[in-house]
Amino acid sequence: MTTPLLEKLQNSRNVLGLIFMLPAAVLLLLFLTYPLGLGVWLGFTDAKVGRPGEWIGIENYIFLAGDSVTQLALFNTLFYTTIASAVKFFLGLWLALLLNKNIRFKSFFRAIILLPYIVPTALSAIAFWWIFDSQFSIISWGLVKMGFIDKYIDFLGDPWNARFSTIVANIWRGVPFVAITLLAGLQTISPSYYEASAIDGATPWQQFYHVTLPLLTPIIAVVMTFSVLFTFTDFQLIYVITRGGPLNATHLMATLSFQRAISGGALGEGAAISIAMVPFLLAAIMFSYFGLQRRAWQQGGDDK
């Protein structure tokens, strides 16, 4: 009696499709939706590590809005993300263009450029921590030996120096991702466009602006979305190099969230800080989605 039904189900494309999607759906629900939902919920409670919280509405957010450390962390995060992402983009694009040329040892250079990305973040962070050390910095040491400066640079002890130092570390780590992905994008552009434009007498700059850039835009949109997301949520570099110091000048939302939630035990507040990052991340995604993926422009037309 049941066999025909089972057979029918097995032959139904829709049912089979649903069944095949089930594992993925379960994974997504379990490891993405549930933690995110829990995070949102925790943000509205006064949960502590090891103690379930009570619903307190938006009290956490009201406090955070008036908390000078959180305000500073928000500023730091925006500053960090903007500068690091912009530099990573230009540096990455430049490297991609260079690597796309016919240079000697092309594959060697392409492989070596990935190195910073392969090294575990914690390890490269420790390396940068030494490079920026107030007593043992190799940069300071070198400059002193060469006679350019007479005392060590306080890379991590001065708020602005520390911000830029951590940004440099982030850029070093993030550039390979941008460069390699953009390189992949460049290679999808058919050489015939360049030939055609060359016949029309386009200069290299015009070729770049009117051929390369428009055709690369979809890739740029994706790469930069990811790059911004990674940078905005950066944790390891800061945690190892400065722990958010000096004077909280390098605390990012992610590190502050960890400090409050795990070390400090204020799970609800930490969750609220994390959730407060979501609107910014959504904005970045929306921007790339609606702003950079305009088909008309990609196809050489004008924006409407």
């Binding site: 502590k48 007593q135 035990g265």
Partner: protein, 443 residues
């Protein structure tokens, strides 16, 4: 006579630690207060224990600890599994275990952890009263941490990893100081003189969890405190301002870059000969003894330790990393767990363990002041009184989520750093700390 006995005993345990199954509960002839009866709990049938502890700071600690665990298993038949975690990771794990009611039976945690969920912990009053009576009593700070209401013990104190003033004798001499100053005025004069000689002092002002604790000492030394005994935030006080003005002057005599210092920085700078004085655990001295680098070993005879100077309040105001031993209420084997902690705290086990830890850990019980480690090398001695001279992290208030949160958020460290570096005036820094702390202590 006791001295002779102890040495005798130490020598013998060191060699036959594993084979001493006869040293079970009962045979205690070396105890300083031998008249006290040995208490003993009868482990449940088939009992097994899981212990979660912070990972060792020195190898000797865990080696001796595990030898004691083996002795316990041999004596009682109770199997004990010991898991190690970095000390900063124990806090969240312990809290989750307490909340979910599953996990290790015994957790060795830090600072105010036990005060976060006292109702989830097994009452160990009988055990602590016994230990206190037998071994000269628990120091006041240990009582504040683990006997919060003055009656009931919620955990057994284990001790503290102390930080002390570590200094280079030759540099102090060159600056005109024959011994380390005992008060804060002398300390400031010394820092100034050292700076003039080109051998500055250095204290961590970054978000350093351990070495940043010197900021607590400083504020307390001048009579400032985060909260009063009713948990009212009182950090914005004239006493705090005085301490911050002191910090500001001291900062002038420090090596540049201390605002960025995390826990390891002062060790590195000190061992490289760049600073003359810092605050640290015994690890710097330990390194000068055991380092493979001959240049580091050369420092050994020149490295000395001193207690923190006393401030205008006139009493010691030290701040150290405190260790608890908590038995979780959900354990199926409360008697076995109590017996385990009793066993580990008895002289036969505790004494060799302290010794093996090389001075990293100081005892919570007064009788262990006589342990050989504190006198075998006179340079160990200042670390002996860590728990005795210590104030709990949330001084002078009650311990709990508020004190834990305020500590983890570096409120005091940030305040001192802001004022010292001149990024804020002492008054502004104190006001900001007041505001930040009030949030934690609202309730």
């Amino acid at each position: 006579m006791t001295n002779f006995n102890r040495r005798n005993f130490l020598g013998s345990t060191a060699t036959v630690a594993a084979a001493s199954s006869t040293l079970g509960a009962g045979a205690l002839s070396f105890a300083p207060a031998a008249q006290a009866q040995t208490m003993s709990f009868k482990p449940e049938k088939g009992a097994k224990l899981r212990v979660l502890r912070w990972s060792r700071f020195v190898q000797g600690d865990i080696d001796a600890y595990m030898a004691n665990v083996k002795k316990f298993t041999d004596a009682t038949g109770v199997e004990v599994r010991v898991d190690n975690e970095g000390w900063e990771d124990v806090r969240p794990k312990a809290a989750v275990a307490a909340n979910t009611g599953a996990g290790p039976d015994i957790i060795l945690s830090t600072n105010d952890d036990a005060n976060l969920y006292p109702e989830k912990l097994l009452d160990v009053t009988d055990l602590c009263e016994y230990l206190g009576k037998k071994y000269g009593g628990f120091y006041p700070a240990a009582q504040t941490y683990l006997k919060p209401d003055g009656k009931k013990w919620i955990g057994v104190p284990l001790g503290a990893a102390g930080a002390m003033m570590v200094y280079r004798q030759s540099m102090l001499k060159a600056a005109g100081f024959d011994s380390f100053p005992k008060d804060t005025d002398g300390f400031l004069r010394m820092a100034k003189a050292l700076k003039e000689k080109g051998t500055p002092v250095g204290f961590a002002l970054g978000n350093a969890t351990g070495d940043g604790l010197w900021c607590n000492w400083l504020i307390w030394a001048f009579g400032g405190k985060l909260v009063d005994k009713d948990n009212k935030v009182v950090i914005d006080s004239p006493e705090t301002i005085k301490a911050l003005e002191y910090a500001k002057e001291l900062y002038n005599y420090m090596i540049p870059g201390t605002l960025s210092w995390l826990d390891p920085n002062n060790n590195k700078a000190f061992l490289d000969g760049q600073i003359s004085v810092t605050n640290n655990g015994i690890s710097i001295y330990y390194a000068t003894k055991n380092s493979p680098d001959p240049k580091v070993r050369e420092l050994n005879p020149d490295v000395y330790h001193a207690n923190y100077p006393i401030g205008p309040v006139g009493v010691a105001t030290e701040s150290h990393l405190f260790f608890n031993q908590m038995i979780m209420k959900y354990t199926k084997y409360p008697q076995a767990a109590k017996e385990f902690l009793r066993f580990m705290m008895e002289k036969e086990q505790f004494d060799p363990w302290l010794t093996a830890a090389g001075g990293y850990i100081a005892q919570p019980l007064a009788a262990y002041e006589k342990t050989a480690i504190w006198t075998s090398d006179p340079k160990h001695t200042p670390y002996r009184d860590c728990v005795k001279n210590m104030r709990p992290a949330g001084y002078a208030g009650k311990l709990g989520y508020a004190s834990a949160g305020a500590g983890a958020d570096f409120i005091v460290v940030n305040m001192v750093a802001e004022a010292a570096s001149g990024s804020k005036t002492p008054k502004e820094a104190a006001e900001r700390a007041q505001k930040r702390a009030e949030r934690y202590y609202k309730v």
